[in-house]
Amino acid sequence: MITVLFFAQLREQLQCDKLQLDDYPQTVAELRAMLGKKSPLWSELLVSDTALAAVNQTISHDQVSLNSGDEVAFFPPVTGG
């Protein structure tokens, strides 16, 4: 199982802060594609758009592989400071 978290406007637009997936694909890119099948909005925000991904709390590119117990997060470009 993996946990998927969503933050900021992405969380608001998707109306979802957390998913737990027993079945998950091998990479971040495939996870984006899998979640994108939920609806055109999910596809737009996770596949077409530039949501950043973090795997186990480190910003990660799309080819990073996923393993059981991983925490994956999707979020918009950061605006702190």
Partner: protein
């Protein structure tokens, strides 16, 4: 060995208190550089009345520690403190504090700016502005990305 302090908190902070804390028991610092970021009163032409700051608990602390670690590898630092507030903030309130101490001012100036530039592009915080016309998520600026790439 650099002494790191990284804190995420809702409460305000005191520059004076943190300045004393970072220097406590150390005589080798020849320079202290500090930066404080505040809530501004307007942005992109809208009247801002306050901010809500969201973050990613756990990753935020990790990201800030990584940034301070990178700074300590590039410059000779004795101590570095980063405090970032989250939650609801009003106009003119303090948002972020960075304090860096070093033997010499050059390292302290550079490391402080480096930490802020990377905090703004790497640390998972998001600002939502409260304005007269509603609430709006702040959009990341490409200028901040460009600035971080100059290091």
């Amino acid at each position: 060995m650099t002494k790191f302090t990284v804190r995420i908190q809702e409460a305000d902070f005191s520059l004076e208190h943190e300045y004393q804390a970072v220097l406590a028991g150390k005589a080798e610092a020849g320079a202290v550089v500090s930066f404080v970021g505040l809530v501004r009163d307007f942005n992109d032409g809208r009247n801002v009345t306050g901010l809500k700051l969201e973050h990613y608990p756990g990753m935020t602390e990790k990201a800030l520690n990584d940034i301070v670690q990178q700074a300590s590898e590039r410059w000779q630092l004795q101590a570095a403190t980063v405090i970032h507030r989250v939650g609801q903030l009003s106009l003119a309130e303090q948002i972020v504090l960075v304090i860096v101490t070093s033997a010499h001012r050059g390292d302290a100036f550079d490391a402080c700016e480096f930490i802020m530039d990377f905090l703004k592009t790497q640390a998972p915080f998001w600002k939502k502005e409260t304005t007269d016309n509603g609430e709006f998520w702040v959009v990341a600026k490409s200028a901040d990305q460009d600035k971080a790439k100059t290091w």
